[in-house]
Amino acid sequence: MKKEFTCIECPNGCRLCVDVKDGKAVSVEGFKCPKGEKYALAEIENPTRILTSVVLAEGLSLKMVPVKTSQAIPKRLMMVAVDEIKKLKITQAVKVGDVIVKNFLDTDADLIATRDS
């Protein structure tokens, strides 16, 4: 079975075509760089995305501190992750890159601040 995707790794948005057999990718076509091939394989086997959101701050100059996952996490965890983030509160000053939650939801990704608070 052929599956079509648009690569989202960069603004080029290459059209990718993946040959899928029994839920496994056999071959990928249409990528202009290796990132595209990797993306297509992941889209079939375990689609992942970087999640960005904001965490409530208290007593800091920002009201909300923007955060991101240090690497892409499984797409199916998105809403769970957002709920977890809503429970957090940052009360001590953080800098860009500081880890807010280590090994976030056991994904190996850390939740990190993307702005000085």
């Binding site: 995707f5 648009t6 690569c7 989202i8 790794e9 960069c10 603004p11 948005g13 995305r49 970087i50 999640l51 960005t52 959101s53 904001v54 409530l56 009201k63 909300m64 923007p66 991101k68 797409k75 998105m78 809403m79 957002v82 860009v96 993307t114 702005r115 000085d116």
Partner: protein, 325 residues
């Protein structure tokens, strides 16, 4: 009157890159004016990733992209940053009037770089009929409410326009738990990047209605529903195609307009259609030594392009000050 070599108006990606570039090209006396209490401009509310791929060769979020420049600027003592400073007047002789808490200054500069960015087109400009209830926001305002203020503007959302900001906001609202019922696009294709259609709409099963427009917004105190119809080649409603979508919020993402009222006030020759300066050379205006860069010069798709354009403006301003332009 205060005298400075170079004034940069606007502390977003354009102004920061221009100031740094002018400094690298030898300008030693730079004043950077920013109306907000932080540097970074719109990048601060663009918390999603996708910035920096061309300029830094890595994927950054908006605040991270801004942070790189903020750290550089604060390390350069020749660049004086004045926050909470709003420019109210600019003359053709390169004198500007600025207001900041408790003071008003008149400053004359050898060269001025305007990096004032752009603003969003409004519902009125997009000609959407109907009532004027609460619940109608520009996409960028909704972004600010969620990402800076931590407030969710609504729960049942219809987005008008599928430019990148509209798409990004569709995902952002969905992630925050809102039900994004539709993105309505009058054109046959989305104006946004394909990757944004994929990762912002498809990922969240948000329907994109191409060749459709909002006919009317209904609601007394709060938005209650919108009428939507399919359009023909001339963007006219196709009879009988109308349907309604119940919602409490409408986000308008109808494009951006360069913000150039100050240079217009100074007497710069303007292109009325695009609201940008008429010039034979990139970033220049009809007034010598008055430059415009970033989204004020032209609307760019990527912050990286704004940076590139503004580096050039900084270099030109430095050459002008040295008498070499």
């Amino acid at each position: 009157m205060i005298k400075r070599d170079l004034i940069v108006v606007g502390g977003g990606p354009a102004g920061m890159a221009a100031a740094l570039s002018a400094h690298e090209h030898g300008v030693k006396d730079i004043l950077l004016l920013e109306r907000d209490q932080f540097l970074g401009g719109i990048l601060n509310q663009c918390i999603h990733p996708g910035f920096g791929l061309t300029y830094f060769k890595e994927i950054l979020t908006g605040p991270e992209y801004a942070d790189r420049f903020i750290k550089k600027i604060t390390a350069v003592k020749d660049i004086e940053v004045s926050l909470k400073t709003f420019v109210t007047q600019l003359t053709g002789k390169k004198v500007l009037t600025s207001l900041s808490p408790g003071r008003m200054d008149e400053i004359k500069a050898k060269a001025i770089i305007m990096a004032t960015g752009c603003r969003e087109r409004t519902r009125e400009m997009a000609h959407i009929a109907g009532t004027r209830p609460a619940g109608i926001f520009s996409a960028g305002l909704a972004q600010k409410l969620i990402n800076i203020e931590g407030l969710l503007p609504g729960k049942e959302v219809v987005i008008v326009g599928s430019g990148d900001i509209g798409l990004i906001m569709a995902r952002r609202m969905a992630l925050e738990g809102a039900h994004v019922k539709a993105v309505i696009e009058i054109q046959k294709v989305s104006k946004g990047l394909v990757r944004n259609v994929v990762q912002c709409l498809n990922d969240f099963d948000i329907p994109l209605y191409l060749s459709h427009k909002i006919i009317k917004i209904h609601g007394k105190d709060r938005v209650e529903k919108v009428d939507v119809a399919r359009v023909d080649e001339n963007f006219c409603e196709i009879a009988g195609s109308q349907f309604e979508i119940a919602c409490d919020t409408v986000l308008i993402s109808a494009g951006l307009i360069p913000e150039n009222e100050l240079i217009e006030m100074a007497g710069v020759v303007m292109d009325k259609k695009t609201n940008t300066p008429v010039s034979d050379k990139v970033n220049q205006t009809s007034i010598d030594g008055l430059f415009v860069c970033g989204n004020a010069y032209q609307i760019y798709d990527l912050a990286d392009s704004v940076t590139k354009d503004s580096i050039l403006a900084g270099k030109m301003a430095a050459e002008y000050i040295r008498g070499k332009l």
